[in-house]
């Protein structure tokens, strides 16, 4: 056995605390070590070349690099040894930075620990076995979950590259939150003008199968080969017959009686409805919770919608359909939900109708909204308006410590729009810190101040009512003075939280969440669209609060990763997987319950467990739990781990 050991200084990150020469002299003395060298930056080109040269010239069988965390550079060095002709799984890494130099101060002790860590890696390296990746074919199609601007952009980008896309949206129309806006910051583009064309493109695209009013039921398989079951909820309207003329909606007995979700409950719809006039697809849907026919089997003498529809499109006998599709990659674009400020009781949301959320106000601006775009709150034009920022953001008390990143700017936008509609309105924004970080944002912030919007630093402490008038209390922190303002309208700058409907998707795909409960990317800087699950990507507000420009950028990023994957015919599957020794397996099935990825399948006939290599992520849960010791983890065999431990104790 010839092992080459390379100790990195990591600039001075390691060598400041660890005496590298001392480590080298101790390790060189080991019988299996053929060569032991050090270098300033092992990950650099000369560093990698040093290893390659030794492999070629000294005929090394194993390589150990003592440097940073394998999370950082294991792939780098595996690549380097492979290029030099060695099996990449004969490479082993000792972490003497994160687990040693960075966390210790005493140089002598740190050096001793570093030497122990390297020696234990050498012991393990000696027992490593070459492993070969297997090739897996790739299904050339993608699934995009969520039809907001993120999902729309991702689907279009993938489809334009020539791959089929299934776009699944739970609501009757795509568009997401952006469809609810009238204008968008900072350019004040009309949201519909930039969004609707994209929505139509999606519907018409030959490569996109649009599945609205549908939900993902289950996902099995792994990168390259996911098997997805999609439940199409019954619309009770035959979409191929419906022309979207809307005769049914005006005829419905319940027209104008049901709060419209799209209008945030401010407008009313009937039991048969489209969420908004530009909906895609422009096809009607019957609300099964409200429809008299569906709930009571009876709607007057006969259902009015049926009478009104010339095309006989209404079909109460419709049932849900399950669609099964195979895809190679998945993009999660489930977006966000608005924070519900009811629990911030001091703001009296829910008690007074003129305390509103940001999204509610968006609907007031919309020409198709509940007031036809007129600035009317409870039928009156508000003259004194107070905006409150950071409601449900930067708030540990309610469990949202993060900044929602869009509220400062949508408040500026909304203040501008109100001022435009009500020139004599007195508008004050109470803010904590002003965050105008995007392109053109600072300029927009200046612009709205020029328009006469007052910005007063210091957030609202509470809202109270006296003699029918609302008052907002705050401190102007720049003056150091508490003050109160009367208001006919208080707008709460409500923050963003992950969508509830994302939970089920998260479970199905085994996605992790970051502390803010949004989906966790694989690396905060370098892999912002990947997840740790191969073949699953993130786009838009599902990954964290984002404005539209960032959402679209990430969506295109996710699409390019998908295309990258789908452009391959086969991919290599990581060989670090669990293997069952069927001679030893007693068929107790404990492992099956533990596997977070459902990689286990029980062979009833032989009464033994089997593991699907393509699904197994090599987490080791099953191997550690198996009472018979029948499961071995490639690359983490008991013998390898024991050798490693023995060296340090």
């Amino acid at each position: 056995m010839k092992i080459g050991v390379y100790v990195c200084h990591c600039g001075v990150n390691i060598s400041n605390t660890v005496d590298v020469q001392k480590v080298i002299s101790e390790v060189s003395a080991l019988p299996t070590v053929a060569v032991c060298r050090d270098y300033q930056y092992m990950c650099s080109d000369p560093g990698q070349e040093m290893i390659a040269k030794d492999i070629r010239e000294l005929g090394l069988d194993r390589v150990v690099v003592a440097a940073c965390s394998p999370r950082m550079h294991e792939p780098t060095f595996r690549g380097a040894v492979e290029a030099a002709g060695m099996n990449p799984y004969c490479f082993e890494m000792a972490n003497i930075r994160e687990q040693c130099s960075w966390v210790h101060e005493d140089k002598e002790q740190a050096t001793r620990k570093a030497a122990d860590l390297v020696k234990s890696s050498v012991a393990r390296a000696a027992l490593l076995e070459p492993l070969n990746s297997t090739e897996v074919p790739v299904t050339h199609a993608a699934l995009v979950i969520g039809g907001g601007i993120a999902g729309i952009q991702t689907a279009l980008d993938i489809a334009n590259s020539g791959y089929p896309v299934y776009l699944v949206e739970k609501d009757p129309s795509i568009g997401g939150h952006m469809a609810q806006f009238d204008k968008t910051f900072p350019t004040l583009d009309c949201a519909a003008c930039i969004l609707t064309p994209k929505m139509v493109d999606v519907a018409r695209h030959p490569n996109i199968e649009l599945l609205t009013y549908s939900e993902v039921e289950s996902i099995e398989g792994s990168v390259g080969n996911f098997h997805v079951r999609i439940r199409k909820k019954p619309r009770y309207v035959n979409v191929s017959l419906c022309t979207g003329c809307g005769s049914c909606a005006t005829a419905c007995r319940l027209v104008g009686r049901i709060p419209s979700e799209f209008d945030m409950g401010l407008g009313k719809r009937g039991a048969i409805y489209v969420p908004f006039p530009q909906a895609v697809p422009l096809r009607y849907t019957i609300d099964p919770e409200k429809c008299l026919m569906l709930k009571h089997g009876k709607c007057g003498t006969s259902p009015k919608c049926v009478d009104a529809c010339d095309r006989d499109a209404i079909d109460f006998s419709m049932t849900e359909e399950i669609l099964e599709v195979d895809v190679g990659a998945i993009v999660v674009a489930t977006g966000y939900k608005e924070f519900d400020p009811t629990i911030k009781r001091e703001y009296k949301y829910g008690t007074f109708k003129n305390v509103m959320t940001g999204l509610e106000l968006e609907r007031i601006f919309a020409p198709s909204g509940p007031t036809g775009g007129k600035a009317l709150i409870n039928g009156k034009v508000p003259k004194k308006i107070v905006f409150v920022s950071c409601v449900g953001s930067r708030d540990k008390r309610i469990g949202n410590p993060y900044c929602s990143r869009v509220c400062c700017m949508y408040i500026a936008k909304q203040a501008h729009l109100l001022k435009e509609k009500i020139p004599d309105a007195d508008i004050t924004v109470m803010y904590t810190d002003m965050r105008a970080f995007g392109k053109g944002y600072e300029e927009f912030y200046e612009r709205v101040q020029k328009e006469g919007i007052k910005y007063r630093r210091g957030n609202a402490a509470e809202v109270y009512e006296e003699d029918g008038v609302l008052h907002v209390r705050a401190e102007d922190t720049l003056m150091g003075e508490p003050y109160e303002l009367e208001a006919d309208l208080v707008v709460l700058g409500t923050g963003l939280e992950p969508s509830d409907a994302a939970d089920a998707i998260g479970h199905m795909l085994h996605l992790s969440r970051s502390a803010d409960k949004f989906f966790l990317e694989a690396h905060p800087k370098l892999r912002p669209v990947d997840t740790v699950i191969d073949g699953v990507f993130l786009a838009g507000a599902a990954q964290g609060p984002k404005d539209i420009p960032d959402t679209v950028a990430q969506a295109s990023g996710a699409a390019s990763h998908v295309v990258n994957l789908l452009s391959k015919d086969v991919i290599l599957a990581e060989p670090i997987v669990a293997e069952v020794n069927t001679d030893v397996c007693a068929g107790c099935r404990i492992c099956e319950i533990l596997c977070p990825y459902d990689a286990h399948a029980f062979d009833e006939e032989r009464n033994v467990m089997t593991i699907n290599k393509a699904i197994c992520k090599g987490c080791g849960s099953c191997a550690a739990a198996c009472p018979s010791g029948a499961i071995a983890m490639n690359h983490f065999r008991d013998s390898q781990i024991v050798a490693q431990i023995l060296e340090v104790i």
Partner: protein
């Protein structure tokens, strides 16, 4: 268990403060006087000896600010600790005379608010014992109480 300014700031989580002013805006006392709760937290964080200020003693310890603080800064707890620090460093508020009398009463009778002959009479009018059945009546308990107080820091720092 003496706390330094730094201990107080850390235990009270003052480093989390974002100077949003919700505390001052909530403060019933600040509406009537110069107390600016947010400013107290700011001053403490930047190392100013805020325990020397008189405003510190304007707080009624109503905890409204602490309840509303979005960053879970334990504002009222901090104010109370800062007052302790002030007392330890002999920065008594100018208005500390009455509280001192209360402490003296506490030592003498076991009650900050002792029984007066007038109220004693009132008690018997409505059919209560002339003297409450408490520590002031139980001489043995009172002696123990005084012994307990003798060894506690309040007597050292309370300016008594």
């Amino acid at each position: 268990m003496d706390k330094t300014m730094d201990d107080i700031i850390r235990e009270g989580n003052a480093y989390a403060c974002i100077q949003c002013g919700r505390c001052t805006g909530s403060c019933p006392s600040g509406r009537e006087c110069g107390l600016r709760t947010r400013k107290i937290i700011h001053m403490a964080r930047v190392g100013i000896d805020v325990f020397k200020t008189e405003e510190l003693w304007d707080c009624t310890t109503c905890f409204t600010c602490q309840e509303r603080c979005p960053k879970e800064v334990k504002i009222t707890d901090i104010i109370i600790e800062l007052r302790n620090l002030a007392v330890k460093n002999s920065y008594y508020p100018s208005m500390a005379d009455v509280p001192k009398i209360i402490i003296q009463n506490l030592y003498r009778t076991g009650n900050g608010q002792p029984l007066s002959p007038e109220v004693s009479k009132l008690r018997s009018i409505i059919g209560l014992d002339k003297e409450p059945n408490d520590i002031a009546k139980d001489k043995e308990a009172l002696a123990d109480f005084q012994k307990l107080l003798d060894g506690l820091p309040l007597m050292r720092w309370g300016g008594i």
